[in-house]
């Protein structure tokens, strides 16, 4: 027998706030053509240690070197280290001040870095008891992020699929997922994609009943046996055609972008295409393979030197690949994704 009620007890709590979040993120996404607004690029990946901060620091530095005004924001309040990758050992201000409501103006937390055009909001000195902002604070934070005076705002997300992480990912224009060619990372990346999609989907559903069905599907051991978004789509189409339409729309708009980091072989490069294929065939989700960064000893040396690789070893292989991805981000909308055969 199905007994669904207890499982979803906690899930309905945030729907009111969720709707606000959703409206906000929809507004942001739609407004991405607004020239005065920063393009917000969240970088996540589920697993820790895959190089999210490294990628953020270097993409940011690469675009800054091309003359674009960039702010990189460390949104990992529980494992802040973006500042270290960018050459600042002891940030004098932190996002934690905003979270704790000691500072209301996000702009005052911006720090200059040694690289021209590149600024940072660090995330050090968080409250160890309650590091994450409350949801209302999160909504405020995301609005403020959009108002930052820059062309690109990168968000370095923490590991895992905590609600706060997913909200940051969702509010951006083009969420990027960093993956390394190892089973643990790939597995977590799928978990991350699913979590992000379901979260966005639940907010897109108009009826309470269909939100409930999505919530049931989010429990990966759900009794309906719904494993993938495609299976959930079939279920929802059956129950409510209008919601099915909204589902398809949400699915079409959700385009996570993939970067494969620490690539050592041609097979590793192909992994991006394969994940793209699995996402399409099993989830119905159109992921975009943005590019890869090869394994490079100089990358490790740059982290040791506490400077972006692009800055210390601009001619290294990894620097060249990172710049390639950065240029893709710039020329976006015009077929930014890698095509098989171009590698």
């Amino acid at each position: 027998m199905l007994r669904l009620e207890p499982r979803i007890a906690g899930a309905q709590v945030d729907i009111g706030m969720g709707e606000r979040l959703n409206k906000l993120s929809a507004k942001f996404r739609n407004g991405s053509g607004d020239a005065n607004r920063a393009r917000l690029i969240p970088v996540g990946g589920g697993k820790g240690g895959v190089g999210k901060s490294f990628i953020v620091a270097n993409l940011a530095a690469s675009l800054a070197r091309m003359g674009h005004r960039i702010i990189a924001v460390d949104a990992d309040l529980e494992g802040a280290n973006l500042h270290t990758c960018m050459g600042i050992s002891k940030p004098r201000a932190s996002l934690a001040d905003f979270v704790a409501q000691r500072e209301e103006d996000l702009g005052k937390l911006i720090l200059d870095t040694p690289i021209p055009n590149l600024q940072l909001i660090a995330a050090t000195d968080g409250n160890l008891g309650t590091p994450q902002p409350s949801q209302s604070r999160r909504v405020r934070l995301m609005r403020e992020l959009r108002e930052l005076d820059a062309e690109f705002v990168f968000l370095d997300l923490g590991a895992g699929t905590h609600a706060a992480v997913m909200d940051y990912f969702m509010v951006g224009d083009d969420g990027v997922i960093v993956i390394t060619p190892e089973p643990t990372s790939v597995e977590n990346a799928y978990g991350f994609i699913r979590a992000a999609f379901y979260r966005r989907l639940r907010l897109a559903m108009a009826s309470h009943d269909m939100r409930k069905v999505v919530t049931i599907a989010m429990d990966q051991r759900n009794e309906r046996g719904i494993r993938t978004p495609l299976e959930l789509l079939r279920e929802i189409q059956l129950l409510d055609a209008a919601e099915g339409g909204r589902f398809v729309e949400t699915m079409g708009a959700f385009r996570p972008r993939l970067i494969i980091n620490d690539v050592r072989s041609a097979d590793d490069i192909k992994l991006g295409f394969s994940i793209q294929s699995v996402c399409r065939k099993f989830f119905g989700i159109q992921a975009e393979y943005l590019g890869y960064v090869n394994h490079d000893e100089s990358a490790r040396r740059s982290v040791r030197a506490m400077r972006p690789l692009i800055d210390v070893y601009p001619r290294s292989d990894a620097s060249i690949y990172i710049s390639r991805i950065a240029r893709k981000l710039l020329g976006d909308g015009a077929g930014g994704q890698l095509r098989e055969g171009s590698v």
């Binding site: 027998m1 199905l2 007994r3 669904l4 060619p181 190892e182 089973p183 790939v186 597995e187 799928y190 009943d209 409930k212 069905v213 309906r224 494993r227 993938t228 495609l230 789509l233 079939r234 059956l238 129950l239 409510d240 398809v248 699915m251 079409g252 097979d267 192909k270 992994l271 295409f273 394969s274 994940i275 294929s277 699995v278 399409r280 065939k281 099993f282 119905g284 098989e340 055969g341």
Partner: protein, 210 residues
């Protein structure tokens, strides 16, 4: 966004109808490497048999597309299907019952006259209407994609064996629409019975006979 079963050979290989031979070849090799049983990209997503099922489709697609003659024939067939699809305006046309007069779906007023009483839309009345439409349980299952077992439970009002009300409401609505009734009205009536029935049978029954 199409499920695997609806994808054509090009979609299976994730290439396009204008692809060169070389592109087809590359797409095929990539697809094969993606859908091995222990593929790094897939092992955490595939259930047993998933990868093999995709591989089968990949091989079938490649057999057709790698040969210029069979590919030509296949392209012609795809083009013909597209033509056919155009005038067929009914996206999810309900199953046409044996009697063409009923294929339109009877308006509610008429049904009430045909039916021997007013009152709830219970399982029995649903069944009655299905049979009048000349439909088997399996016919309804095919159209609605609801399992025949659940459809039977709905007719037999085995509320305790049915899933959560969110689903049952959808099932009953689809069933009713399929037999030409107003799904919303039928579901409202049926769900009252369901809620009442479930309320009375909350106690677990270990030897519930099937």
């Amino acid at each position: 966004m199409k499920p695997l079963s609806d994808q054509n050979h090009y979609e299976i290989l994730e290439t396009h109808p204008g692809a060169t031979r070389d592109e087809i070849e590359r797409a095929y090799r990539l697809a094969l490497s993606t859908y091995t049983d222990d593929s790094l990209a897939g092992y955490s997503v595939f259930a047993e048999g998933d990868a093999a099922a995709v591989r089968e489709r990949i091989e079938a697609a490649y057999r057709v597309l790698s040969d210029s003659r069979s590919r030509g024939e296949y392209d012609a067939k795809l083009a013909a299907e597209r033509e056919e699809d155009l005038p067929a305006a009914e996206p999810s046309a309900p199953l046409v019952p044996a009697d063409p007069a009923k294929s339109e779906g009877l308006p509610m007023g008429e049904f009430v006259q045909l039916d021997d009483g007013t009152g709830d839309f219970d399982g029995e009345r649903l069944r009655h209407f299905r049979i009048r439409g000349g439909m088997e349980i399996e016919d309804i299952a095919r159209v609605t994609k609801i399992s025949p077992t659940y459809l039977r439970f709905i007719e037999e009002e085995r509320f305790a064996d049915l899933p959560d009300s969110v689903y049952v409401r959808g099932f009953v609505t689809a069933y009713a629409n399929c037999v030409g009734l107003d799904g919303k009205e039928v579901a409202a009536s049926y769900m009252k019975r369901y809620d009442k029935g479930r309320g009375e049978r909350r106690k677990p029954r270990f030897f519930d006979s099937r």
